[in-house]
Amino acid sequence: MTTISSPDARAPLAAELPTIRAAYPALGRRVHGKPLVYLDNAATTHKPLAVLDAEREQAMWHNANVHRGVHLLSQEATERYEAARSTVRSFLGAAEDREIVFVRGTTEALNLATATLAATRLGPGRDVLLTGMEHHSNIVPWQLACQASGASLRVVPLLDDGSLDMEAFDRLLDGGVAVMAIVHTSNALGTINPVQAMCAKAREVGAISVVDGAQAVPHGPVNVRELGADLFAFSGHKVYGPTGIGALYGRAELLESLPPWQGGGDMIRTVTFEGSTWAEPPARFEAGTPNITGAVGLAAALDHVTGLGMDRIAAHEADLLTYATGRLLADIPGINLIGTAPAKAGVISFTLDGIHPHDIGTVLDHEGIAIRTGHHCAQPVMDRYGVPATARASFGLYTTREEVDALVVGLRRVQEMLG
């Protein structure tokens, strides 16, 4: 087993922020006459020039279909697409390139996982265990699969601070659980779940572990083998890459045991009208022409964050979280933080007394500050904490303390206007 590289000994990221931010032209924009303060990184991150350049170069000079042509351009496209797979493999700490399936994003990855596992693993008494903080994309596919297969959904409840109730988890996880599907880092609460321990416990009872890593991958080092996840999904656009591309990691032996998902070109070995045979993973799960340009862009994004250092990104965002939490609690009367778990990513979900999140979002927008408002595709989380919606500020590698200060000023403006 490989180990995570030792902590990055370079200086903190903050010292390089002016240079880093220059690589993201949108960060220099003005919005409603004010400098843009982009605090909606959990929804999507901006893309550095390196990503845009890589996509442009691929589309401009190496455009061809992959895995098909004998001509040079097709070979170049194939080499670049497969090199991108190798970059994802290395980024996730997976053992082999064939364990990486390119998909549109986390939602598609989770639907792939659900459909293929439902066909082989679920049924009456072979249940699915989720947590109360799942994104809708890790709830709805399982609900559909349970309805079709006769399996039941089990849900790990949340504590008041946004942590998982791990005693309940231990009670709910037994031999009747066939699949444990859990979010690594909550998009609505910021909570980082103890995924490594949970995957180990799932393995003890013979359950397959599926991890939604969409919010984990951008914020710190991830190593799927150390986590012990059987399947692990993430999206490119949340880690400074393009939209429409993401990856599903699957342990090689598991992927080999799963049936095809979508049928089409590239996923077969032989086709006759009497029947077809399937290609080996990952081709088995990549029917049709993939998002070649997106894959190349994703690889550029992963090179970008790896170059900066995932350890340093994590440390920078942890510093911002501490700073922002302190400032908001000190300077904004009537603020309620939703999600205060000890292990938390740079996501602050909050409400203000007497002011609806939607109105907060509109006023902040006019101050140039972009945040998310709503239920964050996690309605059960909203129900759990008795709020219809929250406002959410989420940080990225390029976020500065000055932007946190601007948020505080903006929220005071919200309260002056609507309070």
């Binding site: 909203m382 219809p388 919606a389 206007m417």
Partner: protein, 149 residues
């Protein structure tokens, strides 16, 4: 900030904080639930009728300043109107908040003119029209929750 004041007019802020006709009546002839899944707003509109005339209109629920004020001002406007008139006012109101001009100088819209600023905020149009869509469902006696999606 002047354009933001176009949206959050004093009358809207007042009705958003202190909604009129809030709370279910003892008896309603028609009622319907509305839901804006984008922001989680939910409200219920209740109508008390005498024939086809609206004697009382009330609502309850939770929403943003725009949707709450819109529901509050809507219920004030509706009292004494017929169901057919209510439908006509909704058409003009919808035109108003989506930037149309058919409402100009129309005395029927009365205070509802304060919502003209919503047309500059396309993502907030659904907030302003949630109560009205719910009203429409109530007048059509549809029992299903309406959604702005």
């Amino acid at each position: 900030m002047s354009d933001l004041r176009e949206l959050y007019q004093e009358l809207i802020l007042d009705h958003g904080k202190h909604p009129r006709n809030f709370g279910a009546p003892e008896h309603a002839d028609r009622e319907a639930k509305g839901h804006n899944p984008l922001c989680g707003d939910r409200l219920t509109v209740y109508l008390v009728l005498d024939g086809d005339r609206i004697v009382d209109a009330r609502f309850d629920g939770a929403g943003c300043a725009i949707s709450t004020a819109s529901a509050s001002l809507m219920t004030e406007t509706l009292k004494g109107r017929t169901l057919a008139e209510a439908e006509q006012i909704f058409a003009k109101f919808h035109d108003l908040v989506t930037g149309g001009r058919s409402h100009l100088d129309d005395p029927e819209l009365e205070k509802l003119e304060v919502f003209a600023g919503v047309s500059e905020f396309p993502v907030r149009v659904k907030c302003a029209t949630l109560a009205w869509h719910t009203l429409k469902a109530a007048t059509e006696a549809s029992s299903d929750a309406v959604s702005t999606e």
